[in-house]
């Protein structure tokens, strides 16, 4: 097992989700949500929802262009959570139907894509 830490201290609980959900680019995050299984979404949402506040509080202490690799991964993870939370918390079992429509809406530009 890989024991190297990918996230800042205090967010060990989210380590298992880094590979799947720490994604650069708003369009990629949105696409990942649409392509994911319910099981993956629920697991990630439940693990991360209470940590979003503490994560942002930590990241807010630095300008965005000075985040180190671990912090950047955490930022991207929390941004993915924005998309995933809508699937789990709002759409619930409507998500598969919703995802079908959602594929036709393309994010062409997002503020989070700049100086990321």
């Amino acid at each position: 097992m890989n024991t190297e830490r990918n996230l800042p201290e205090g967010f060990e609980q989210l380590e298992p989700y880094v590979e799947s959900w720490s994604i650069a680019g708003a369009a990629n995050r949105s696409r990942r949500r649409i392509d994911s299984s319910e099981q993956e979404r629920v697991a990630f949402f439940n693990a991360a929802k209470e940590l979003a506040g503490p994560a942002l509080a930590l990241l807010d202490q630095k300008p965005l262009d000075q985040l180190d690799d671990r912090e950047t991964r955490l930022m991207n993870l929390i941004l993915s959570l924005a998309h995933v939370s809508l699937a789990v918390e709002i759409q619930g079992d409507d998500e598969p139907k919703h995802a079908k429509n959602s594929r036709h809406i393309t994010i062409t530009r997002a503020s989070s894509d700049f100086n990321a």
């Binding site: 708003a26 995050r29 949105s30 949402f45 929802k49 979003a52 506040g53 994560a55 942002l56 990241l59 807010d60 300008p63 965005l64 985040l67 930022m75 929390i78 941004l79 959570l81 924005a82 998309h83 939370s85 809508l86 918390e89 709002i90 759409q91 619930g92 409507d94 919703h98 079908k100 429509n101 959602s102 036709h104 809406i105 393309t106 994010i107 062409t108 530009r109 997002a110 503020s111 989070s112 700049f114 100086n115």
Partner: protein, 401 residues
Amino acid sequence: MAESPATQHIELDEDHAHLGTGPIPAGPYYQPEYFDLEREAIFRRTWLQIAHISELPEPGSFIVRPVEIARASILITRGRDGEIRAFHNVCTHRGTQLVSDDSGKRSLFSCPYHMWTFSDDGELRSAPDFERFYVDKSQCSLSKVAVDVCAGLVFINLDSSPEQSLREYLGPFAEELEQLPVARATTFSEYTYEIEGNWKLTYDNFQENYHLRFIHPRSGEAANGPQNPFGYPIRYGFHGPHRTQTIWSNPDARPKPFQTFGFMKGAEFAIKDGFGASAQGKEYYAIFPNLFILGSPMTPFSQSVVPISANRSRGIIRMYWIGEDDCASRRFAREYAMATARDIHSEDRAVIQAGQRGLESGALSHIHFQSQEILCRHLFQEVDKRVEAYRAERDAARAKA
């Protein structure tokens, strides 16, 4: 067109019949002949929103934008003098499209064909072996297009001498739009969709709430409640061809925990940006012919429904932000707001397309609008009035010829 200077309002419980109650012909929502008339009667002579001022940040910035319905490509520049100018993106030598990039920074534009070179004020600067031509350089400037800016929104008018200035055209809405985040925005997020739907049918979907509970049962929960089961607006306002609605929201709605977290982050920055108690926060403007602007500082979006053909359109939704993301929380708040609005918008496309397929069968001669679909009725009337006037003008010109 003489128009009353003030916006006329009707409240939720008032009579909504002043725009008529009759059925509406179905043909205008799918027939290519009607679309051809709209091209001339509306899109070639009306102010059309085409860009945001933040896309032309400094002297030398330029953008190129298509206007498909007019088969036009428009070059918009910010000159060294700071002026915004617009031109047909067409070389005056033999008509080649001049600029192929859709944005950049440059103050000279050279045609790829024979290297005629124009400056950002449209003048022909140089042309190889020009002595052999039979024309003066001053006669060869790029063809100008009327352009003006209101609330940071860049509008063009393909009419060579527009009947009204942009301000006159927008009337009291100009002042209101100037109060919104879009007017101060320096950047935006954007998502788009292509749709097999007439531009009016598509646009109408976004100006009636009758469908909310059926099409947005989850994402639209806060938009209706037992007191207002369909989430109809509090009031409607009309000014000339434009309209607005004041959105009702359920005071008893209970946002989900993470949703509350996302909204609170958004509210924090809306207040920081000075939009805490915005008078236009619940207004949803429909600017004729094809633009929407939501006044909410939490969800500050515009949508253009771009007509492509009688049964194809493109939706362009933008959310306007003041300043780049300056911290993690702001970045998160913006991502959450965009993802939320995108979810709602994405739910409408399929049912609009189903409407288009139904209408195109020709099965219906007419469609019906109820009193709370009055904004759809108003759009049709404003379109049809112009189409009829154009038809009469054209027929008179033909009779004369």
